[in-house]
């Protein structure tokens, strides 16, 4: 990123005369957004103050919110979600970053192959993935992972079946299977760095680590911010894995907010409460995102 330009940019850049263009450019996005995102969100907001029934809801003020804040399970699921997020998002970012860097020096054909290889899991449907992972986590000694740890002399574990290991199992699954997207995005960003930067650095005698520190890291900041924010959002809404692998158990050790909201909205038809929980969740995520923008966004934006 062109650091020196950042400061002057603000004053000099894009004359106000172009605002009309800007609105034209975002017009479609905004229309689609208003219809298919904003409208449902506003509906959900209104529903959160109601005892929702398809044939006629009653307004109950803040009861749904009060109920949620009093609910132990809600807080437990928030704690679980935070634990999951803290354990997965930064690690996954690091893994993706390292892999992207490692792919870089390879010859083109190898690069292509590895990119495809790391993106491939996305083509397997969620059901296939869960079947395979259930097999990997088979609790009996012939399970794949149990055989692997048995190799190191560790006794076989009941991976998904006990409170101690079930969360870790979901985290491990995330570490090993969910970074195709981030790797590709990181690679795209890495390839966008102009060679002249490295050449200049080499003239100054910079070594590999110095180049990483002073060129690559600053340049990848916008990308990292993007992956971090979307990663946290995705992680806070995570639902599929817990739903397919553990159903939230054992003893709610893997009940995430996403799963809880799903259960409330559909299993128990407490749509009002589900809406209230969603909005509380949104406030939490938004706060975290804001912190990330403040911490990461300074010299990236405008």
């Amino acid at each position: 990123m062109a650091q020196p330009a950042t400061k002057t940019y603000k004053k000099r850049m894009i004359k106000d005369g172009d605002w009309a263009w800007a609105y034209a450019f975002i017009a479609v996005a905004l229309v689609v957004y208003a219809l298919f995102t904003a409208y449902p969100v506003v509906s959900a907001f209104l529903i959160s103050f109601q005892e929702y029934k398809p044939l006629g809801s009653t307004y109950i003020g803040l009861d749904n919110y009060a109920e949620t804040l009093r609910d132990d399970l809600f807080w437990k699921s928030i704690r679980n979600t935070i634990k999951y997020t803290v354990l997965t998002v930064p690690v996954n970012l690091l893994i993706s970053f390292v892999i992207a860097i490692l792919i870089l020096p390879l010859r083109k054909r190898l690069q292509t192959t590895f990119k495809a290889v790391y993106y491939l899991p996305a083509v397997a449907s969620g059901v296939t993935m869960s079947v395979v992972w259930l097999w990997i986590y088979d609790p009996l000694p012939e399970g794949i992972l149990n055989q692997l740890i048995g190799f190191f002399g560790i006794h076989n574990q009941n991976w998904l079946g006990t409170s101690d290991t079930s969360m870790f199992s979901l985290v491990l699954m995330s570490w090993l299977s969910s970074h195709g997207t981030s790797i590709i995005i990181y690679l795209a960003a890495l390839l966008g760095i102009d060679d002249s930067y490295y050449e200049a650095a080499e003239l100054d005698g910079a070594n590999f680590l110095q180049k990483l520190r002073y060129i690559v890291l600053p340049f990848l900041k916008p990308t990292t911010l993007f992956l971090l924010v979307t990663g946290v959002i995705g992680s806070f809404q995570v639902f599929q894995n817990a739903f397919l692998m553990t159903g939230g158990g054992p003893d709610n050790a893997t009940t995430m907010v996403g799963l809880l909201i799903f259960n409330n909205a559909f299993k128990y038809f407490e749509f009002g409460e589900a809406a209230a929980q969603s909005l509380i969740l949104t406030v939490i995520i938004a706060t975290i995102a804001l912190i990330q923008f403040k911490a990461f966004g300074k010299d990236v934006e405008y």
Binding site: N158, P250, F269
Partner: protein
């Protein structure tokens, strides 16, 4: 000026391309649009000017692939129905087996469910609570009711005074054993099939089944929400046929419940069941059965006999297509043992065609049409074919008659054992108010299942779990609303 004009053209261009996109989407759908505008359950008030007999109506039905053959014959079913009632159109919407509930729940939340959906009778209270079920008591004809044999099966679709659909079949969920292993362990399985057994006898049997250490005595799928199946199957045979007693008190606080919980732990601690039981899922337990890793498995369905036979045939063919490491097994249907001298009660699942309403009050005419369609699906030829596929018991005379020509190969002993279990099937409980049922379901999901998972994983004691259930039940139903013995 100039730049503004260009802005305008660019907006125009974008909207244009948008509408092209939209248009290309529409093209391919000419055939489906008329039915889409005919929103479900609204009936067709416009047609009321015509003679009542001939009024056209469309009935929508959300159906999962109940059996492989069922899915193939959807078009035929629609056509036959139309031939039977020329003024009526039956529109079947297919959806995946596990995903159907999600779709139905969204539609119910949106206030526009289909007219008919294929679901279990146990879900009736949930949808009734939302006010979205349609009572067809007034619309069914005496012939339809008379077709049900035993007549009591129709009661599973009732709640209070209302009838909310027609049941299609009844299946018993039980346990099943490996014939050879049972005999090696000295279990007289014929006698058990004919007379049942107590928990004490069962415990000994699985202990000797596991004695050699080569395989387990008993494995039940309990991973995730299947923990509920395991617990209720046992609880039914400990005097708690339903979550509520006859006088509508919550039953799972009785002393017998604690006995069941203790038994759950005992069987694992004996070494008769794997200590990793808490993460054995449905696929795993059947794999363990076929590969000879367990003597008895659960829950057992009638179709398992067929599954085992199919695998035996593959083993014989020796072409590598059989389940890896599997052995030849003969599947023996067994009843669930009884606890503390209680009467046996077999777990029965009644699935059927449940009738829904939309936001508008349905007309009497539309109701009658929906009832006709639901009955058509639940009886006669349609039911005969699916029930045979599933090894499920016919519950209508017309289905039995239609099935007479279809032969199925089943072991006589197993058939007799199933017939016997059907004689003490869980009775229908239309007297339990939907609201109470809904509360019990939530209590099960939020307290009982999580604690049961913990119990299976040896993280809490049976006593601790019992206390937790008691505490939650008293909180939900009051001290007077629960059984205290």
């Amino acid at each position: 000026m100039k730049s503004r004009k260009k802005v305008l053209t660019s907006i125009l261009a974008t909207t244009l391309s948008l509408s092209v996109l939209a248009a290309c989407g529409n093209n391919n759908n000419n055939n489906a649009s008329p039915s889409a505008s005919d929103s479900p359950s609204s009936g067709s008030p416009a047609a009321s000017s015509a003679a009542p007999e001939a009024a056209k109506d469309t009935i929508t039905a959300l159906l999962p692939p109940i059996s492989p053959k069922y899915q193939e014959s959807i078009a035929q079913i629609e056509k036959d129905f139309n031939a039977l009632y020329p003024n009526l159109t039956l529109k079947i919407e297919p959806a995946g087996w596990e995903d159907m509930t999600q779709k139905l729940d969204t539609q119910v939340n949106a206030g526009s469910p289909p007219d008919i959906a294929f679901i279990g009778s146990s879900s009736i209270p949930k949808y009734l609570e939302q006010g979205m079920l349609m009572d067809i008591t007034d619309s069914v004809t005496p012939e339809m009711i008379a077709d049900y044999n035993p007549a009591v099966t129709l009661d599973y679709m009732k709640s209070g005074a209302g009838l909310y659909g027609f049941p299609a079949y009844m299946v018993v969920h039980s346990i099943g054993g490996n014939k050879q292993y049972l005999e090696e362990a000295g279990v007289d399985w014929k006698k058990v099939q004919q007379e049942g057994w107590t928990y004490e006898q069962f415990r000994e049997a699985i202990k000797s089944g596991a004695a050699g250490g080569k395989h387990y005595g008993f494995v039940f799928a309990t991973a995730g929400v299947a923990a509920r199946d395991y617990l209720t199957i046992l609880a039914k045979n400990a005097g708690m046929a339903d979550p509520f007693t006859k006088d509508l008190k919550f039953a799972y606080t009785s002393k017998n419940y604690l006995e069941v919980l203790k038994a759950v732990r005992q069987m694992i601690d004996d070494g008769s069941m794997p200590k990793e039981l808490s993460s054995v899922d449905a696929g795993k337990r059947w794999n363990m059965f076929l590969t000879g890793q367990t003597m008895i498995t659960g829950k057992g369905l009638a179709t398992f006999e067929n599954s085992a036979k199919a695998n035996n045939a593959k083993l014989e063919a020796n072409d590598g297509s059989a389940v890896k490491d599997s052995i030849k097994v003969d599947y023996i249907v067994l009843p669930v043992p009884t606890f503390a001298g209680a009467q046996p009660v077999s777990t029965t699942v009644i699935d059927g065609y449940v009738t829904f309403r939309g936001k508008k009050e349905p007309t009497a005419e539309h109701k009658a049409n929906v009832a006709k369609a639901a009955y058509y699906l639940a009886s006669g030829k349609v039911a005969a074919v699916t029930n045979n596929d599933l090894f499920a018991s016919h519950i209508t005379e017309s289905a039995k008659a239609a099935a007479a020509s279809l032969t199925i190969e089943r072991s006589a002993e197993n058939l007799a054992a199933v017939e016997r279990m059907l004689t003490f099937a869980t009775p229908p409980r239309p007297d339990i108010p939907a609201e109470l049922s809904a509360k019990a379901i939530k209590l099960e999901d939020e307290v009982i299942i999580p604690k049961m998972q913990a119990l299976l994983a040896n993280e809490i004691t049976p006593e601790k779990m019992y206390d937790e259930v008691m505490k939650a039940a008293v909180k939900e139903f009051g001290a007077d609303g629960v059984v205290q013995d």
